[in-house]
Every structure is written in C-alpha cells, then in structure tokens.
C-alpha cells in the first residue's frame, strides 16, 4: 500500500488543481464568465474585467469573493456587474475592510459593535466629510512617518475613490435607465445639435432642445472625468491603443452623429442585468465579444488566457502542494522513509511545474522577464529555491531537499499572497525600469542569489532543529547537510555577486555611476559580502560544521533585510511598495532567526542527536 502512496497523493493533488481550471466549477453563469473576459484598458495595460474585479476586491477587502449582508456569496465578476450596472445593490455590500479602531469610531462604530471590520459604502457614506477632512490632515505627512490611524484614513479614502471611479466607469451617477436615455439621445440628436449650433450663432432656435442637448453634454463631461477605466475601444483606423472611457466616447456623439456602439452594448448589458434577463444579457455580451474579436483579436485572446489564469490560481495551489511536501518529508524521517520521501518529491515537483507554468503565463501576458515587482520577486525566489532543492534531492535522496523546498516554497508564496493585496500584480514598468534586457539579467540573477542564500539558511535551520529536537541527525546526514550548505553558499556567492554587478552596470548605463550606495544596492552588496565571509571563515578554519550553520542562518536575516528592510527606509531609487504590517513580520522573522542561532550554540550534550 505504501509503495503506491506517491502516485495516489500526487494524482489527487493534480486532479484538485485541474478541477479549479475547469469551466463548470465556478459558481457563476457562463454569461457572467463571458462578461469577465471582456478586455479593457486599465492602469496602462489591457486586461479582462475579471482582473479588474479581482484586484479591486483584493485592495478593498483582502480577498476575492464577496459575502453580502444577507449571506449570499458573490463571485468577483458578479460583484463587478452589480457595481457597474446595479450600484444601488453594490453600495450595500460590505467590502471595505477597516481594522483601525480609531477609524472604525470615525465611521460611527462604538464599543458595542466595534468588532465589525467590513463595511458597505452605504454605511460609510454618511461619514464621508469627516473622512475627507482627516485625510486632508494626514496626506501631507510622509508615508513612513504616518501614525496607524493616519495611514488607515489615507487608505480608506483611496479605497473609496477607487470604488467610486469603478462605479462610474460605464453608467452616469444615479442613472435609472441608461439604455433608454441613450436611445432618446440618438433620436433627438440631429434636432438637438442643430438647436445648439443655432443658439451659439445667435440665431432663432428651440431653447428646450438646445438646453436638453447641452445638459447631456455636461453629464458626459462629468462622466469622462470621474473614471479611469478605459472600456470603450477606438474606432477602426484610429490608434488601437487609444481606448476611451464611456463619458469620453459619448462626448464624440455630437460630432459623429451617432452614439458609440460599444457604449450602447454596455448599456444593453446593464438593462438586461438590472432586469435579471439572463438570456438577453448573454446575447448582448456575445454580440459585443464577437465584434471585439474582429478588430482586437490579440487583446481578446490575452484577456481569455488571463481569465483562465486568474481562476486557476496556480500559486495558491502550489502553496498547498509545498506545504504537503514538507509534511511528507518530515514524515519520512519518522516512518515510511522511502514512500513518504518519494511522495514529498512528487508534490514538490508538481508544485514547481505548476509555478513554472504560472510564471511563464505571467511573462507571456506582460511581455517581460519574470521579476518586475516585489510580488513577482517573491514568486521567483520561491521558484529558484525549489528548483535548486529538486536538484539537491535528486542527488542526495534524503528528503532534506524536499523539506527545504516545502518550507521556502510555502513561505514565499504566502508572502506573495500578501503582496498581491496592493492591487494588479502585472502593473506597468516605470520608464527607468523599462528595459527587458536588464530586468532579464540583473533582476533574475540577483533574485536567484537571494533564493540560494535563503536556501542555505533553511538547510541550516533543518540541521539545527533536527539535531537539537530529534535523534534523526546521524553523522552521515549531518555531513551531507554541511556539504549542501557549503555548495549552496558557493552558488549564492556567484549569483549574488554577478547579479549585483550587473545592477551596477545597469546603473552605469542609465544614471552614470556604477555604484551609488542606494539602500537596495547596499543590501545586495551585504549579501555578497556575507556569503564571501562564510566561505573565508570556513577556509580559515574559524568555523566548523555548527558554526557554518549559524552563519548560514544569519544569511536569512541579511537577505530579508535586503529584500524588504531596505524598502522600509522610504528613500532611494528602489523604494517601492511598503506596508506597515511587513515591518512587524520582518522584526519577528529576524528575532526567530536570532533565537535559532542562540539555541544552536547550546553545548553539544544538549543536542538530542549528538548525545552519546
């Protein structure tokens, strides 16, 4: 029975993952899924509405599904449909996550009901004036100097306006029957425009018609200024990247003499959605989709793939596989050494293949090398470490490689999950970073340097924990671990050095100095020097096996400082993305590593494995 364990476990994991991608599994109708696939231009790139919905929900409330106050569960696409087309419903969904007690008090909570942390727009709206006033006070304070209340209020204000910009993306504020209004506009267009023209030239005109037409124009101007979602494609023959928002497209009605057909299509969808007319909704989405197919086949295809990618959640699936792999690796040291080890190896392999496919899909969608921001660096560090672990395991076959893979893979993907809360993770690159060559060389190599330094540290953690708390660290395993750590530190020295100097060369190419003592550069340099220090300390005989392990564990601190700590200083060219919570996690991590080094220095008689 145990002989087949690897096969069964890996097969079950693969089936669960594949079911996630299957179209029928998501609890939403095919029409809603088709709507989610429609491409729009947002934050500088083409993406499906599904991504807009998911990344907005992550920013607002930290996860992708919505639970209404009457305990109905909505998918992100259904939520987006309500926001766009039935805002009076959407305003009642509790999606604004607030965890600061002072801010909760500001929006009307008191001691009795302070625990509720997700609020709806309707609940917050009556307090919008106080929120705006507090935001105005907090906003001028530099981000890293804000109190928790100040950051929370700035964040809430940003989230509210994010929500409102989305709510006003297609329909004007307070519109009851947008399709009817547009059809009426189309009908009166010729007379109305004529009346306005006559009025401007001071000729006799129908005042009512002119006033109605001017009012429409003003409404469209307001619409065009209140959203940044560019959902309406350009006309044939125009610049294919010049998409408009719906207000802007409607303003062109007066010049062109007809209402933009794409806006009409969206108005039709709104009408059908409001009337719960699923059949008509599906029909209109289908018609609009096929018209896009003709003129924007590439964008439609990318949007389709991205929607599948979103639903598959490869990194989330990989995270659980790595965790499973770690548990099986640990199991193999206690029972079923061969079967559990091979199961663990199989799970790591499957998780790694899925992560590889996920990274490849992201690269194809973005047209960029794998690492472009903090989020993708977390994924890639995990991918690189796990890849190295697979090699180690293939060579040593002692479940240490897969245990390390499980730990690092799981940890990096958890970190990535939290970094994704900042919004769309396929964001555009700022001009200074816009170089695929350097992103592909410097960033990839230096990230592998980080990954391998972490790997050496994690192997050392396994050595220390197994040696002190279990009796499983026999001489052969201990020597094997020491060789692994030494080899990985050599590898890390090479990659962190090459990566860091490639960064220097990039800096010389774009800013005119090879080295500028920027915090992130310094962080990378410290990793290089630390790895060099470990090697020289060993060559000099200053450390033996246990000392090597302690130095490698300290490498975890050095690397995490460079990865996250340098961003927290809020200075320099690389200071992107910083969250308050990350500071506490980093501190906790550093303390845990120091504690490990401390217990590693217990006399050897206290190590359970080495007690004679």
């Amino acid at each position: 029975m145990t002989r087949r364990m690897p096969l069964y476990v890996v097969a079950i994991a693969a089936i669960i993952f594949l079911m996630g991608m299957a179209p029928g599994r998501v609890h939403q109708s095919a029409a809603v899924t088709a709507f989610g696939r429609l491409p729009v231009l947002s934050e500088g790139r083409f993406k499906p509405l599904d991504t807009v919905a998911r990344s907005t929900l992550l920013v607002l409330q930290g996860h992708q599904d919505v639970m209404t106050s009457d305990k109905r569960e909505l998918t992100s696409d259904e939520w987006l449909l309500d926001v766009l087309f039935a805002p009076e419903k959407a305003d009642g969904y509790p999606i604004f996550y607030i965890d600061n007690p002072d801010l909760l008090t500001l929006v009307g909570k008191n001691e009795v009901n302070l625990a509720i942390e997700r609020l709806s727009f309707n609940e917050i709206a009556p307090h919008s004036q106080e929120i705006e006033a507090q935001e105005k006070l907090a906003e001028p304070v530099e981000a890293q100097n804000r109190t928790r209340f100040q950051s929370s209020v700035v964040q809430l204000y940003g989230n509210l306006s994010h929500y409102l910009r989305l709510r006003r993306a297609i329909l004007p504020d307070g519109s009851k029957d947008f399709l009817g209004e547009l059809l009426k506009l189309q009908e009166n267009l010729v007379d109305g425009v004529e009346a306005v023209r006559a009025k401007e030239e001071g000729k006799p005109h129908d005042e009512a018609k002119a006033a109605a037409m001017l009012a429409e124009g003003q409404k469209f101007v307001a619409m065009s200024e209140s959203t940044d979602l560019l959902a309406i494609p350009p006309d044939e023959g125009d610049d294919p990247s010049a998409w408009h928002n719906s207000g802007h497209a409607l303003l062109e009605t007066f010049g062109k003499g007809e209402v933009n057909p794409a806006v009409l299509a969206y108005a039709g969808m709104a009408f059908a959605w409001q009337g719960n007319d699923t059949e008509r909704f599906q029909h209109i989405v289908g018609l609009y989709q096929s018209s896009l197919d003709k003129h924007f086949p590439k964008q439609v295809e990318k949007a389709r793939i991205e929607t599948i990618f979103n639903a598959a959640q490869p990194f989330y699936a990989g995270m659980w596989m790595y965790l499973g792999a770690f548990l099986f690796a640990a199991l193999s040291w206690i029972k079923w050494p061969e079967a559990a080890r091979r199961t663990s190896f199989g799970l790591v392999g499957l998780g790694w293949i899925i992560a590889t496919l996920g990274i490849a899909t992201r690269m194809w969608l973005e047209g960029r090398p794998p690492v472009t921001n903090l989020y993708s660096s977390a994924i890639f560090i995990g991918w690189g470490s796990v890849g190295l672990c697979l090699i180690l395991e293939a060579v040593y076959k002692n479940a240490i490689g897969t245990a390390a893979a499980g730990m690092i893979g799981f940890a990096t993907l958890i970190i990535a999950q939290h970094l994704a809360l900042a919004g769309d993770t396929l964001e555009m690159m700022r001009a200074v970073l816009d170089s695929n060559f350097w992103l592909g060389t410097h960033v990839v190599v230096v990230t592998i340097g980080y990954a391998s330094t972490f790997l050496a540290g994690v192997l050392a953690v396994i050595y220390i924990l197994r040696g002190i708390f279990t009796t499983t660290l026999d001489k052969a395993t201990a020597d094997a671990l020491a060789r692994m750590v030494y080899g990985i530190v050599c590898f890390a020295t090479l990659f962190s050095f090459v990566g860091t100097t490639l960064g220097g060369i990039w800096a010389d190419q774009s800013w005119g100095r090879f080295w500028g003592w920027d915090p992130k550069e310094n962080g990378a340099l410290i990793i290089v020097v630390w790895n060099a220090l470990i090697l020289h300390a060993r060559w000099a005989g200053l450390v033996k096996q246990r000392g090597l392990m302690c130095l490698a564990v300290f490498g975890n601190i050095v690397t995490s400082w460079s990865w996250f700590g340098t961003n927290m200083l809020g200075i320099g060219l690389h200071s992107y993305g910083f969250t308050d919570a990350a500071f506490w996690w980093l501190t906790a991590f550093v303390l845990s590593q120091i504690a490990l080094i401390a217990i590693a220095n217990l006399p050897l008689e206290k190590w359970r494995s080495f007690r004679a």
Binding site: L230, M428, V498
Partner: protein, 382 residues
C-alpha cells in the same frame, strides 16, 4: 626576519583578517544605509566611505569611532595582495580564485579612483537652445564678468570655498580686490519690506540694500538644494566700491561701471565649459495610456563639434546615454511642461574598470564553481 615582522606578515596574509574586514565592512554598509534617512546619500558617502574613519561628535570634538571605507578597503587590498603573494602556487586548482581576486583588486582600485575623480554636472537645455557648458548641481561659483565688449564676456570665477573661508582675492584680470564679508551655505532672500525687523544689511550697492538675507540650516535631502548667499566688498586702489549681495536666487547679474569698463556680478552654479555645444531639438515624454505612469523620456540632441566638422543628431533616453568627448550624458529629468530637458553629465575616467573587474570576477567564480562541481560529480560516481 625578526619576530615582529613575522607577526605582522602573518597578520596581513591571514584569512582571519579577511573575515574581520568583511564583517566590519558589513557593519559599515548597514550603518551607512540607515544613516541615509538623516543625512542623504551624498553626505553618507563622505562620512562613511570616502574617509579613513567614521567620526562622531562627542562634546563638540570629532572622535574616530569606526574604520571608514578607505581604511577597510585599503586593508582588504593589502590583505588580498599579501595573501596571494605569500601563498602563491602555480596550478589549475586555484585558477578561478586567482582570476576572481585579481578582478576584485581592480574593482576596489577602480572605485577608489572614481570616488576621487568622478565629477557630475547637470545640463538644462530648452527646446531650440544651444549650450556649451554644464553646471554643478551642488557647487556654486562667484563670477565677475567683464562685459565691456558686447560680443565677448571675460569671466573670472571664484569658487564658493574661497568665499566661505573669507579669502581675499586679487587677480590680474580685475582692477579691484574681492573681500568676502559674510557667507551663508544655505539661505533665503526676501524683500526688506516683507521682513520689517530684519537686521541692517551689510550691502551698500546693487540689489543688496533692498534685500534681507536669512541663513537656513544646511539640508541633506535629495530633493532639496542649498542656496548660498554672500556679502562681497570690492575694494579699488582708491578705496571701497561698495558691498554687494550675491546668491543664485538673484538670477540676473548685477551691473556696475568701474575703470572705464562694465562689470557684472553673479553667483551661479559652477560651470564647466566644453569646446563643442549641444542643441536640444525635441524632448519627448510618453505616458502609458490612461495613467500618469511615465513610459519613456527622450531628448533629441544635435552635437555641434568643436572642430567645425558636420553636426550630428543623437537620441538620449532611459538606459541609453550619450558618451562623447570623455563625458557621459544621461537623461535625468525634465521641466517647463516638457520643453526643457535636464541631462546629467558625468566625467568618470575609470568607468571601464568595473566592467573589466566584474567580468574577471564572474569568470573566476564560474571556473571555481565548475571545478568544485566537477570534483563533486566525480566523487559521487566513483
């Protein structure tokens, strides 16, 4: 060889010293990184890296508290060279280590040279404008211009450092002595009418009597710059000509006539003149559609060579600088509603050193890594 010398030798060639120096350098870099929050990157470089000791002021006196970049780097260099000379053995096994360390020596020396020799300037050019000089972004100079000939300016430039030390300047091209009376490294200028209780001005001529000069704290922030101001008295053979206020804030030069000539006084960013000139033909600044995220900045520049050979056009943009006549021009910033480009101009004679050094170190490490891997694989198959 006597014992002391032997001890010194074994200290300088030892790997223990290497490890200690590496550990010290990590502390130094980490400390310097944290201190950037207070001092900014420029002051940090001088305090920590371009110094033999990091000093701390205790009771107003500067004490050395930690070895600085020059000391650690210098000792590493000595340790590296001594160690290799002492332990030198021919053979392939250490070939990678040798090449890598040779590269490291070149890297350390190259960085020392560039730390000492690198100069950076800025060049602001409006669209259509032609310029033959770049300006320092940190240093200023006090320029006295003989503008008698409308076609030719004869410039005598006095560096800011002389003004700050109060050095009296007498120069054969000037018919008067320059006597600095007061100097403020950072300041602001206001109209006297706006500052009713300002102390009486030292100035007697030009704009000075109308202005109030308020000294400010020196700033180290990256996005701010210090604006110096100075009171300067000019003394001719027959006595004083008056005292002027000069500051880069004043913009236009102050004019006066003396000894039958027209003179202009101005304090401005220090300039370096080049024999050739550059013309900005067009600056472009693209955004991603529907956002404020910059996609690209670029400057189309015409180079007008010194020897009168035909001019040529180049495009400077992100990650694509212009290297010309020993200087490198980088797209740094822009201004004036996208009609002015700001180029960073760097003179760094050792710019090639890190390229060669990094190539050598990488090659060395790869060789060594492969030697290890080869040995490891052979042992496992054996």
């Amino acid at each position: 060889m006597n014992d002391t010398l032997k001890q010194a030798r074994s200290l300088f060639v030892s790997l223990r010293l290497t490890v200690v120096l590496l550990a010290l350098s990590i502390v130094l870099i980490f400390w310097a990184t944290l201190d950037q929050v207070n001092l900014g990157v420029w002051a940090v470089q001088h305090k920590f890296f371009h110094s033999f000791f990091v000093t701390a002021k205790i009771g107003g006196v500067a004490f050395p508290v930690f070895p600085g970049g020059y000391l650690i780097g210098g000792l590493l260099l000595v340790n590296l060279v001594a160690g290799h000379l002492y332990r030198f053995k021919m053979g392939w096994r250490k070939a990678g280590i040798w090449i890598a360390h040779l590269g490291l020596i070149l890297l350390l020396v190259g960085e020392l040279v560039s730390g000492l020799m690198q100069k950076d300037y800025q060049m602001r050019i409006d669209e259509g404008e032609t310029k033959n000089y770049a300006e320092s972004s940190r240093q200023n100079e006090f320029a006295i211009i003989n503008a008698t000939d409308p076609n030719l300016d004869e410039v005598t430039a006095i560096p800011e450092s002389l003004l700050s030390r109060g050095t009296v300047v007498q120069n054969p091209s000037l018919p008067f002595r320059v006597v600095p009376k007061a100097y403020y490294p950072n300041s602001t200028l206001q109209m006297r009418s706006q500052v009713p209780n300002a102390p009486p001005s030292l100035a007697t001529s030009g704009m000075g009597p109308m202005l109030a000069v308020t000294p400010l704290e020196v700033t180290y922030k990256e996005d701010e710059r210090n604006v110096p101001a100075a009171f300067v008295e000019l003394v001719g053979p027959d006595g004083t000509l008056g005292t002027w206020v000069v500051s880069p804030l004043l913009g236009n030069p102050q004019k006066f006539d003396f000894a039958g000539k027209t003179w202009k006084l101005v304090m401005r960013p220090k300039r370096i003149y080049e024999p050739y000139s550059l013309t900005l033909e067009k600056f472009s600044h693209d955004l991603y559609p529907g956002t404020d995220i910059p996609k690209n900045f670029s400057s189309r520049i015409r180079i007008n060579p010194a020897d009168g050979s035909p001019s040529r056009d180049v495009l400077i943009y992100m990650n694509n600088p212009l290297r010309y006549a020993g200087l490198t021009y980088y797209q740094q910033s822009f201004d004036n509603n996208d009609h002015t480009t700001i180029l960073e101009v760097v003179r760094n004679p050792s710019w090639l050193a890190p390229y060669i050094a990094c190539g050598a170190i990488t090659l060395g490490l790869v060789i060594q890594f492969l030697i290890h891997l080869w040995g490891f694989a052979r042992r496992r198959t054996a």
